[in-house]
Subunit: 339 residues, 2 copies
């Protein structure tokens, strides 16, 4: 590797509103060497996730903001190319928060070895990674769906939403997805087995469409988008409904918080619950989640879709298209093939 | 009783905004006679509660609206004056939803006999009744306070809030109350043992005052008022905070919902929970709640305060002063003495 360069994407600006490619800058540094107890991983698949918009802000969130002038953080599936730790061997496929770069040095913190026999290795940042585990634990632990109930999920064709809906179906629920565009909606009902799908871009009155699609009301809402969609759902919830707040992509680019009626009246009248979630809270149960999800994949009960952009040079572009909802399935950037 | 009249308060108008006495009308009817399986109770103490404002509206809530032209509903402690059921004997002190009237006929549904040895009978609609059970189960089951955590409660000197704060103290929490006026705040700290009390009427920046009073942040908020107080609390919550939505008296007289930033970002960032509650959900555990609360009263760990207006003719006036926050303690109207 000596003499090769490590292409890296730095965060160089905190945008107000919609981000642009110029908020990032590509840099090149020498490929790092591992110190004692460390290894170096070469990126194969970089994960592109909505939460990254939050890291661009300089405000408290569940993780510190990404520092300006440094490599953007993010989950990566990579291959160990040099190691000075007995835990990871050269050639191992690993997953960790290696960031937007080709080569990362790591001491192994929060890194796991990827079992390629379970599913393609890209799934380690998808259906068997953070998004999949978010959906699995978030739906089951916060949503607590009961067979026969109605589960609604937004951003339903995305990495998280598509799993939420399928796990809800596996649990015997009526499942309604909200997505943007006819193609995504057809995928939800025809491929993933959702009971109904609503195209928010083609639906002038989302509340009325939801009421039609949910004749028995809404028991569980898994919210990935926030905004007016959440307001519409709140007007249709049932007694003891559960609302899992996972994301709010429709609000991420707002320069000031949108004002809306408080949800408290709907929560009080229905003795309903609204709860924010983060997958890290179930980190100690990840093995259980991966095993169950991998089994469902092998049984044909759980499908997933990946949207792969080639080349690390396209990382910001892939991120921006995700924020615009132009991806179809889990957004990945492929940086290379394993040896 | 034949020949006596039964004074009753009818709801005759659904107000927009602040109610007035003219929304109610006093009527007189003959004192009823019990049919087979029924009894007649004479009112001793009528409960006056914030939720009654909601019943004046013609919208879905956790109970149907009060019908126009009929007796307003409400909890009452009464004495059985005639009975054709073996379950209740003449002379029994009973508590039921007998409404705003002197005499009520009942088939015993949702009626319980009051044990006068536990505490004064008026407490059957106060600290040992709906408000007390709301506080007890709402705090413990939804708030789930842990020793050492900080619990904030609004309308803290009221029938529900005063119990919430004391039960939080019994559970080893730092307890901060929000109330209107110096006298109520002094009562919270000096009599009830709250760690701090904030007078919202004299506090220009409630958020800053809360931040001062809660140096370790807010773990549990028991919300009786809604509105801007809730918004301020949300900006100070800790990881995994619990927000129990019990009431929103600051919003009850609004003619249109107030707009505010959605709470979802605070819930997501802190993986916090916001949940509406209603005491009926723990109806099967009422005996447990009454026994525990009565024991704390006897041990001197739990105090209560009643604000008694004399005369059923003053029922609407007592209700309006409650909505204005002019009561100090559980608002009651005394309609008579037991035989």
């Amino acid at each position: 590797m000596a003499g090769e360069t490590n292409r890296q994407w730095l965060l160089v600006n905190r945008p107000d509103g919609v981000p642009s490619e110029s908020d990032f800058k590509m840099a090149a540094s020498p490929v790092p060497e591992p110190g004692e107890g460390e290894f170096v991983a070469r990126a194969l698949f970089l994960s592109v996730d909505p939460y990254m918009r939050g890291r661009m802000r300089d405000v408290k969130s569940y993780a510190p903001p990404a520092p300006l002038g440094e490599v953007m953080g993010g989950g990566v599936v990579g291959q160990v190319v040099a190691s000075k730790t007995p835990v990871f061997a050269e050639g191992d496929i690993v997953q960790g928060n290696f960031g937007w770069q080709e080569y990362a040095v790591s001491d192994g913190t929060d890194v796991r070895t990827v079992d390629a026999s379970l599913a393609p290795i890209s799934t380690a940042v998808g259906v068997l990674g953070m998004p999949g585990m978010t959906a699995y634990f978030g739906l089951l632990e916060v949503g607590q769906p009961v067979a026969g109930e109605t589960v609604v999920v937004s951003a339903a064709s995305g990495a998280v939403g598509s799993v939420v809906g399928q796990v809800a179906k596996i649990n015997g629920c009526r499942t309604v997805g909200i997505a943007g565009g006819a193609e995504k909606c057809a995928y939800l009902t025809d491929v993933l087995g959702f009971d109904a799908a609503l195209d928010y871009k083609a639906t002038p009155d989302l509340r009325a469409a939801l009421a039609d699609a949910c004749p028995d009301g809404i028991d569980v809402y898994f919210d990935n988008v926030g905004g007016a969609t959440l307001d519409a759902v709140l007007s249709l919830i049932n007694l003891h409904a559960r609302i899992a707040i996972c994301g709010m992509i429709s609000e991420y680019n707002l320069t000031a918080p949108e004002l809306a009626p408080r949800p408290t009246r709907a929560l009080l009248v229905n003795r309903a619950r609204m709860q924010g979630l983060l997958v890290h809270d179930w980190a100690d149960r990840r093995a259980e989640g991966i095993a169950q999800m991998a089994a469902w994949i092998k049984e044909g009960k759980l499908r997933y879709k990946e949207d792969v952009v080639e080349g690390i040079e396209n990382m910001p572009a892939a991120f921006l298209r995700l924020l615009r909802g132009e991806n179809f399935g889990k957004q990945l950037v492929k940086a290379g093939d394993p040896d």
